[in-house]
């Protein structure tokens, strides 16, 4: 696999406080052989740690995981087949419901695929607004994830509530722009649905300026916390080779030390104009995955700052760009972007009619979940919960 030159992409290594240096014990891995009878337990689908309706069929030797079979599909709702029977515009609101934390990036990936398929140019202002919304999504997703992960670790409430308090501020921005907190249905082919007003941009500016302070506080609470370090360091190590071979993308891949970010690799939209670094981890453990996301948020703030300053005028949506009754020429297109969870892509096949003949979603949560067993083997049940939490899945996207 071709990887970008680290120097060119400006990779940033995770600064890691070693728990071992502070005298913390790292958990032992190897299960004692033949220690006793095996026990099969069904973790989920209605288990608070599974982030939705997801089941893990685990075989336990005492407290250690010997075998783990992920079972999903409880939230399957025929998304891809529905896409084949729906017009191009009609699928847009359905994409909100894939990864329902990040409808803005889902919309963008789908819009990108249709724009490629039909050859629709995107207006300059819309490209900037898309970057702003995608980076806000990333802030929202990573903040939430840190909160959920801490909840999984057992810190009941506090970090999650702080995270949700900040998330709500971003959702308020989304709501005042698109009309809905989570189901934004905002991107259109060739631009965005609504032009952000000056007040909205001012409110975004206030949020972006204040977010660094929140992250400082959040990190003061968590990053150096000895209990967090003892629980997460050395747990669920993902080797870089396995991550690449399994098609893992996003912060999960970067935490394993692979500097692959579509914003740099593809340079879609107007990302090449922004100056930002790609944080990568070293060990690929749960702590690195947490830390990579924290650092990514800092970079997102920097991108947001640049995008808000450079936002050009002009139309948000080309009035000639057709939304309803779109009939692209026969062909295929794949549009992908770096979503907060990894590479989210839409593959569309057209035969010249109003509906796609093939509609396929490349969902990052789903692909990242495939290595769950490799990460969990030898760990305790409690570790499995935080390993699953650190993968960052949303079942709406896994099951589709």
């Amino acid at each position: 696999m071709m990887l970008p030159d680290p120097a060119a992409t400006g990779l940033a290594r995770v600064r890691k406080i070693e728990g071992a240096a502070l005298g913390l014990r790292t958990p032992a891995f190897a299960p004692e052989e033949g220690a006793g009878d095996l026990l099969e337990v069904s973790l989920g689908p209605h288990h608070p740690s599974t982030h939705g309706v997801f089941r893990m069929d685990v075989v336990l030797d005492g407290e250690r995981i010997v075998r783990l079979k992920p079972v999903f599909g409880y939230l399957h709702r025929n998304h891809e087949k529905l896409g084949e029977g729906t017009s191009y515009l009609g699928s847009m609101p359905y994409t909100d419901r894939l990864d329902y934390l990040n409808s803005m990036t889902n919309n963008w990936a789908y819009a990108l695929a249709v724009e490629k398929l039909a050859g629709i140019p995107v207006t300059e202002r819309a490209e900037y607004v898309r970057v702003i919304l995608a980076e806000l999504s990333r802030l929202l997703n990573h903040t939430c994830l840190a909160g959920f992960l801490m909840q999984d670790c057992g810190c009941s409430g506090t970090p999650l509530m702080y995270a949700f308090r900040e998330r709500e501020k971003i959702l308020d921005l989304f709501e005042s722009l698109s009309g809905s907190r989570m189901m934004c249905n905002f991107q259109r082919f060739g631009g965005c649905r609504v032009d952000p007003s000056a007040e909205w941009l001012a409110a975004t500016r206030t949020l972006v300026d204040g977010y660094g302070a929140f992250l400082d506080e959040f990190e003061a609470l968590l990053s150096g916390n000895e209990i967090v370090m003892a629980r997460t360091q050395g747990v669920g190590r993902l080797p870089a080779a396995l991550a690449v071979n399994a098609g893992v993308t996003g912060p999960m891949l970067r935490a394993s030390g692979v500097g692959h970010d579509l914003r740099k690799v593809d340079g879609y939209g107007v990302y090449p104009r922004f100056n930002f670094r790609v944080p990568i981890g070293r060990d690929g453990d749960v702590y690195d995955r947490y830390m990579v996301r924290m650092l990514e948020m800092r970079e997102s703030i920097s991108i947001l700052d640049q995008a808000l300053r450079g936002l050009p005028g002009g139309p948000i949506l080309d009035p000639k760009a057709k939304q309803r009754g779109l009939r692209p020429k026969a062909g295929e297109a794949y549009g992908r972007i770096e979503g907060p969870k990894g590479e989210i892509g839409f593959f569309l096949g057209s035969d010249g009619t109003g509906n796609p003949t093939r509609y396929r979603v490349r969902a990052p949560s789903f692909v990242n979940l495939t290595i769950l067993e490799d990460l969990c083997l030898g760990h305790s049940v409690a570790d499995t919960v935080i390993i699953l939490g650190s993968i960052d899945i949303v079942l709406g996207e896994v099951d589709r």
């Binding site: 009309g179 609470l221 150096g224 916390n225 967090v228 370090m229």
Partner: protein
Amino acid sequence: MLGKGLLQGLAVTAKNLVGSYHDPARYVTQEYPEVQPKLPEAYRNFPFLVSETADDPMGTLRCVACQICEKECPPQCIYIEKSKDKKPDATGKAQIYPAVFAIDTAVCMSCQICVEVCPFDAIKMDQEFAIAATDRFGGLLLNREQLAKPNAYYHQIHPTEAAEVDERLAAERRAAEEKARLAAAAKAAAPKPAVPAAAAAAAPGAARPAPAGSTAPAASAPVDSVPPPAPRPPSP
């Protein structure tokens, strides 16, 4: 030093605890339902049908049953039956109207695609969110009587958008009047008045709803049948 991170974290929680009593950035809880949320203007939840007046909502629906929203609705939650007869709309022009217009709110996902595709500004998004029904089938299936809300209500919930819509409709109406006036003048000046003008007035497409994205219904009206427009309801 082992334990430093824990102490640091406790300082953060202490700061938040104290801050939650005086700092608005930390004290964010709203005591719903005692305190009702302030909804942004863009907020949307379930569509409604715009009628021109409050006292005769069924007679002044803007909807002309063109069925575009029914076709475009992604989850197919809209059901429309066209009327057999025609009724004068707000501008006085005879129009088809929806004999049945039902939205199954159990299916609707508030995506507002119906609003975007409507060429007549007849369907808009509501802001009512505290909704519940005791009957999951009939109670959630809203008919046109339940869906119709006056333009004044639209102004109340989406003031900016409603003002734009009113302005656009007024401009279209003025353009249609101007066109009718010119056509009437041309007819009066023409040497052979009776037969060709009548044929032109009955030309195909004259009484059909305008295609999406083109002009308002009034613009495609038969030129000799446009009465003076009804006065518009005052904007609040």
